[in-house]
Symmetry: C2
Subunit: 417 residues, 2 copies
């Protein structure tokens, strides 16, 4: 079979499956999710064996230890995937909700009802648990899903989707509701992003290269995710103890994720006190790259280049800039931010609100770490990614973000004049 066929065939099947899925009861969907969870647990040994082979191959191919850790499955991780599915069962089914039903002057009853998006394509990288998480969320919201996972995790993803398909069949749902693209050829991505006839939405989860490619080339409507050049602004009136804790947490609690902070903005009035303290706290742990003014206060800082302001390090590195005012901080974020997560630390009521109003990002914080931008933390349950675009979904995407609406109109013979 050609690579093209290996992408188009599952997409066609997914479209047919999506029609069936759209009108399946919550009960049946929940039963299917529980069966998948049980089958995953029952297949733990088989999954671990195949994942071990992926790991061996990865090591031989020189996979970094960070990526090895993402790829690795353990008994606990499989149990946690199953638990994730059981949590999705607990979430309310968004499908069928009726919104804004009302009667027009001519007697027409016009409203909207929440329906699945249809077929969702997900392109992702190393972590095989994503396979189960997104399959569960897409199913609960009544969507079929086409998965394109990372090459290194191919066999792990394959066994996971096989188990899911078997479970779907046992539950009486279309097997084609969840399908993995059965080739690791790069060309498959080029084909997938052109299938707007079959796919309703594409969610790329991965590095900037992948996301930019999808944004530029995809004919399928896409939701940009993930790139996070997040700032913490320590205002003149900040509680400096609180600011130290927040900056530390935002930078170091998990530097490789998109909601980690990459840049520290400090109001000039407290820079003389705060900057030495944070650089002391970060000593031997985080490399700070400072603007000129900050290097006058702490000369040991490495100098920041213009290119540093826009960078998502995903590492123990942070740029530092001293600003004259709240306005300069907001302008800097406007210029260099990626509209992901932005925080101010302040005691000032008016400035807190100004920051919330004027900073244009998926999540804007007062006195809290940017690391909270996450479906679970926001109370949405699991998430399929964090949207950094403005269309359709912004911020962590839960079940509702995997749905759309349609207008339903009940008449008694009305015609338009």
């Amino acid at each position: 079979m050609s690579v093209r066929e290996m992408v188009v065939q599952p997409a066609k099947k997914a479209k047919l499956a999506s029609r069936e899925l759209a009108n399946i009861s919550s009960q049946q969907k929940n039963e299917a999710l529980l069966i998948i969870a049980r089958q995953l647990e029952n297949s733990t040994e088989e999954i671990l064996k195949i994942n071990q082979e992926d790991m061996e191959r990865g090591k031989q191919n020189g996979l970094s230890s960070a990526l090895q850790d993402r790829l690795k499955l353990t008994e606990e991780r499989i149990a946690s995937m199953a638990e994730g599915l059981r949590e999705i069962v607990q979430l309310e089914d968004p499908i069928g909700e009726v919104l804004e039903m009302g009667k027009r002057p001519n007697g027409l009853k016009v409203g909207r009802t929440r329906v699945p998006l249809g077929v969702i394509g997900i392109i992702y990288e190393a972590r095989p648990n994503v396979t189960v998480d997104v399959a569960g969320l897409c199913l609960k919201a009544g969507n079929a899903v086409i998965l394109r996972g990372g090459t290194n995790a191919f066999n792990s993803n394959q066994i996971l989707t096989e188990i899911i398909s078997r479970a779907l069949k046992a539950a009486g749902l279309p097997e084609a509701s969840v399908q993995l693209i059965q080739t690791t050829e790069r060309e498959a991505v080029d084909i997938l992003i052109g299938l707007n006839e079959y796919l309703d939405v594409l969610i790329p989860r991965g590095g900037e290269g992948l996301i930019n490619k999808v944004v530029r080339e995809s004919s399928v409507p896409a939701i940009q995710t993930g790139v996070g050049n997040c700032h913490v602004f320590v205002d003149a009136s900040a509680d400096l103890e609180m600011a130290l804790k927040i900056v530390d947490n935002a930078k170091t609690s998990r530097p490789a994720v998109c909601n980690a902070a990459e840049s520290l903005l400090i109001h000039k009035d407290i820079a003389g006190e705060f900057l030495p303290r944070i650089s002391q706290k970060f000593i031997d742990r985080v490399e700070l790259r400072g603007c000129e003014k900050s290097r006058k206060i702490v000369p040991e800082l490495n100098p920041a280049q213009e290119s540093d302001w826009g960078k998502e390090y995903l590492d123990y590195i942070m740029s530092v800039k001293i600003v004259e005012s709240l306005e300069e901080a907001i302008n800097h974020i406007f210029q260099y931010g990626s509209m992901h997560s932005e925080a101010i630390v302040t005691r000032d009521y008016a400035r807190a609100n100004q920051f919330l109003d004027e900073v244009d990002a998926a999540a804007v914080y007062v006195n809290a770490s940017t690391r909270f931008t996450d479906g679970g933390q926001f109370g949405l349950g699991a998430e399929t990614g964090i949207s950094t675009q403005k269309l359709h979904a912004r911020g962590p995407m839960g079940l509702k973000e995997l749905t759309t609406t349609k207008y339903i109109i009940r008449g008694q013979g009305q015609i338009r004049e």
Copy 2:
């Protein structure tokens, strides 16, 4: 100035203007809209003179009489544009609405607030009134807008946007909130659809060629609008008098618009009675192109080709197919429909609901004409187009569809474990 600069410059200015607009009060926006309305009325003579020149040029270039009619402005049409703006003033400002604010277990207050999209690009064709309608809606929702109108209406659009800019200035709003691209070069569209750095959303309003181009090539997230291959299905249990009225209205009340019906599906049980009646009603008015079965009942029908089923005629032509069942009708719509507006005429409760549930379209009707798919008819006020995609907006787009949300999080020093 190069064509590129003639597109990039306004886009840059629009992005800056959008920052200011995002935090302007409803009162100020409404005052600006009222000033624009007044200035349009006061400039009626000037507008008509320039529109007359566009009309002369159009005639010389062989513009069809239908397009001439779309292009033409009259005193009444200008008054009606001004009236449209006053109606937008009456609509509730969607910006600032707070959604789903709640407290998380760790004390974080997490909610969403409705904010403008930012910069909206609109590509449209002949009608200059669109210039004023969409400018008004975008402004009310706090967005800056870049307009790319049709070549034939260029001078009319230019005077209208000049008047709007002057009024914005008088109202203390950024002049660059509404800008027309000052060139009719086709290349300008190619440039515009690549400016995802400055534009947040693109709405193409026009023919299939334009929409397909945008879907395939745009790096700016786009909302597909308008292509409507709409069906009316006359079920076995239909009130045939009602069906005759609805089919006639859906086809002939305004055949050139996207919510007009293009295809008639008739249940076999009543085809023998209904088809002769509708073809009698349409005689000399609408060309019916029938399937084989329908030509056995009314042999005078022209034969429908396979290509007819997917066609948006936008004319006094309608395809006719006799179906065995409701399921066959739904399958036919799934295969050939454009997910715009679909109607069933029936007396049967279960079948009405099955049609509403299973047909996947922006608007699904029972016992009413598809012609109602319209922002005004649905009670949204004016509209910026009718979305036929599933992402972000579906169906007529009013003010809310020109907004997005951002998460706002108020903490007291929370960090993530």
